[in-house]
């Protein structure tokens, strides 16, 4: 044997292949967009309220330092009880869906997947519609959301059980199981709507399928914030193992990662995070697909950078989209999911196109 001389020595020890400055710049830019978006979201709306008044209303609620008699009670309600919680919910849902999208893409090892391929949008719809149609409402106003959450989790559980056959959660089997469950539940949803034959039910189904942030209120913010923080922490703790999952199960095993066990954890985290977001805002489409992709273009596939960047980008994106949904067809309001779809579909096609170009080397 003749050992080949080692290659040329490296000029210097490289800290990382992707420049850290790009990541820092991305963080700063995205935080800036999110803050600007939140500010615009509380300033803009169907009722004109001067910026100074909006600012003083918020300061008054936070610190009690301003005089509440300087503005009307309705202005106070619009800013504090409608616009601000809605903007914050948009940020939480956008972040949650983007993070669960990035996690789903690692789970099924497919960069063109989103959390909805696992069948839960229609699970949520069936849960909510069942409550509306049967009129069973044990928990008062919150029961539709609860039923939607339960429906989403039930859909997840069925997909999990179907995909688990053979002891492994094979990516292709997960996608096929998700598609099967989606088709079945979509049929069931249509059946329930036809049976009800009631415009209210139809409207409610559309809400769950397209998504809406119109139900936002302060009480609804705690749960998504908590779940987002929890899942984000759990995912970041496993960021390196998640990276190995992208390379296939054999490579993951060689690097000390049990792909099957990691997928099980991942599946539960995605179910919890997506289930809560869908129960609160319905099936807001395309964020889970487009935002992780955009984040990958910015900072690469390393989940230690990808997850926080996707969270910030998703938050900012949905806040901006919600402003458009509220103001574009003023005074009518569009479901936010329709706006994300209108923006998302062309973006998706562009992504598919650019990937095809990459792999053929053109």
């Amino acid at each position: 044997m003749n050992p080949r001389p080692a290659g040329p020595p490296p000029k210097k020890t490289r800290p990382r292949a992707r420049d850290g400055r790009i990541t820092s710049a991305a963080y700063i830019a995205l935080v800036g967009v999110l803050i600007a978006g939140l500010a615009a979201s509380v300033l803009l709306g169907t009722v004109d309220i001067p910026a100074g008044t909006v600012f003083r209303i918020i300061v008054q609620h936070l610190t009690g330092q301003e005089d509440p008699t300087e503005w009307s009670a309705s202005q106070d309600t619009v800013v504090w009880n409608l616009r601000l919680p809605r903007a914050l919910l948009a940020a939480l849902v956008g972040a949650g869906l983007a993070v669960s999208g990035a996690a789903t893409q690692a789970l099924v090892r497919n960069p063109l997947a989103d959390p909805y391929v696992l069948g839960l949008t229609y699970g949520a719809a069936v849960g909510a519609v069942a409550v509306i149609v049967t009129g069973v409402s044990p928990l008062g106003g919150a029961s539709t959301g609860m039923a939607a959450f339960a429906g989403a989790l039930a859909a997840f559980a069925v997909v999990y059980a179907l995909a688990r056959a053979g002891g492994t959660l094979a990516p292709l089997r997960l996608i096929l199981a998700g598609m099967a469950v989606t088709y079945a539940l979509s049929g069931l949803t249509s059946f329930l709507v036809l049976q009800a034959d009631d415009p209210g039910t139809t409207h409610s189904v559309l809400f769950w399928l397209f998504g809406s942030l119109a139900e936002a209120n302060w009480a609804a913010l705690g749960l998504p914030a908590f779940v987002l923080a929890l899942t984000m922490l759990a995912l970041l703790a496993q960021a390196r193992p998640l990276n190995t999952l992208l390379l296939g199960d054999e490579t993951a095993a060689a690097l000390g990662i049990s792909a099957t066990r990691l997928r099980r954890h991942l599946f539960l985290l995605i179910a919890l995070l997506t289930g809560v977001m869908v129960a609160l805002a319905g099936g807001v489409g395309f964020i889970g697909l487009i935002i992780p992709h955009a984040a990958r273009l910015l900072v690469g596939s390393d989940h230690r950078r990808l997850l926080p960047v996707a969270a910030l980008a998703g938050a900012g994106f949905l806040v901006l989209v919600d402003i458009a949904a509220r103001t574009a067809l003023h005074p009518q309001e569009l479901p936010v999911g329709i706006v994300t779809s209108v923006i998302g579909a062309p973006l998706f096609l562009w992504l598919v196109h650019s990937r095809a170009r990459d792999t053929t080397g053109l």
């Binding site: 050992p3 292949a17 390196r240 992208l246 054999e250 060689a254 690097l255 000390g256 596939s301």
Partner: protein, 270 residues
């Protein structure tokens, strides 16, 4: 010879989806040696190696590295003893060559631990050793077959494990790159177990060969003792003629498809 880095397989059985594929393999790779596993398609080479890097569980037997039972360790700990180049590495996601090699540090890192200067130095050293330091910023998916294998070898080296498992590492490589890759592997000085299709490469690079057929070891020993026309005929079903390779003196096989009209046994009496 350091016994702490030797690899020993004892009575290893592996089943895939209930079907037994490997049926009682004993194998020893002394420290710093290269052991080649050869055999026809379906003989269980890859399945055996997958059990060594803990992708497939054992249904019976033990695998030890330096006396430590691999399957009694945590996956993370085991991956610090055995690094591997599996047959297929997917690249559906954009990963740079540096990031790919840096994943070799995974079994050394705890949750939330950042890359240290030492990690970066190990990865840079591994990329330099395999001669691909200049490709660090390139996307893995855009590299040539030879470059990809070198980056993957760098990843395995960054793992700093005493045992290296290679599953058909020279697949899809041209002749020059096959030699270059195996020279690189030899230069690392680690204990190597490699499944190889090319019997001449196996003979040239391995200290010992294990011949697998139907999940069992049918012969093992030094290449010259093993690669006889009789054994090659029995196991691979081809006619072989063995000559010494000029300069190196390792055995070289000249292979020829069997003439169907002839009786196979008539040609084995070489």
């Amino acid at each position: 010879m350091n016994v702490l880095t030797s690899l020993t397989l004892h009575d290893v059985h592996v089943a895939v989806a209930g079907t037994p594929i490997v049926n009682g393999v004993d194998l020893t790779a002394p420290s710093g040696t290269c052991v080649g596993v050869v055999g026809p398609n379906g003989s269980g080479k890859s399945t055996l190696l997958r059990a060594v890097y803990r992708h497939l569980p054992l249904s019976r037997g033990t695998i030890t590295v330096g006396g430590e039972d691999l399957w009694r360790l945590t996956p993370r700990r085991a991956a610090r003893l055995v690094a591997a180049l599996p047959q297929e590495t997917r690249s559906d996601f954009d990963v740079t060559a540096w990031e790919m090699a840096a994943m070799g540090r995974t079994p050394h890192k705890r949750p939330f631990a950042a890359d240290t200067a030492e990690d970066n130095a190990v990865v840079a050293g591994a990329l330099a050793h395999t001669g691909v330091a200049h490709l660090a910023d390139r996307r893995y998916g855009t590299l040539s077959g030879g470059e990809k294998q070198r980056v993957l070898l760098a990843r395995a080296l960054a793992q700093q494990a005493p045992v290296l498992v290679l599953d058909e590492p020279t697949n899809h490589l041209d002749v020059r790159h096959q030699f270059e890759l195996l020279d690189l592997v030899a230069s690392t000085g680690t204990t190597v177990v490699a499944a190889l299709h090319d019997l001449n490469l196996a003979a040239a690079y391995c200290d010992r060969l294990y011949v697998l057929a139907a999940g069992r070891v049918v012969a093992h020993g030094a290449p010259y003792d093993i690669l006889t026309p009789r054994l090659v005929g029995e196991v691979f079903g081809v006619d072989a003629h063995v000559i010494p390779t000029p300069v190196t003196g390792t055995p070289h096989l000249i292979l020829r498809a069997r003439d169907r009209a002839d009786s196979p046994t008539a040609r084995l009496s070489d």
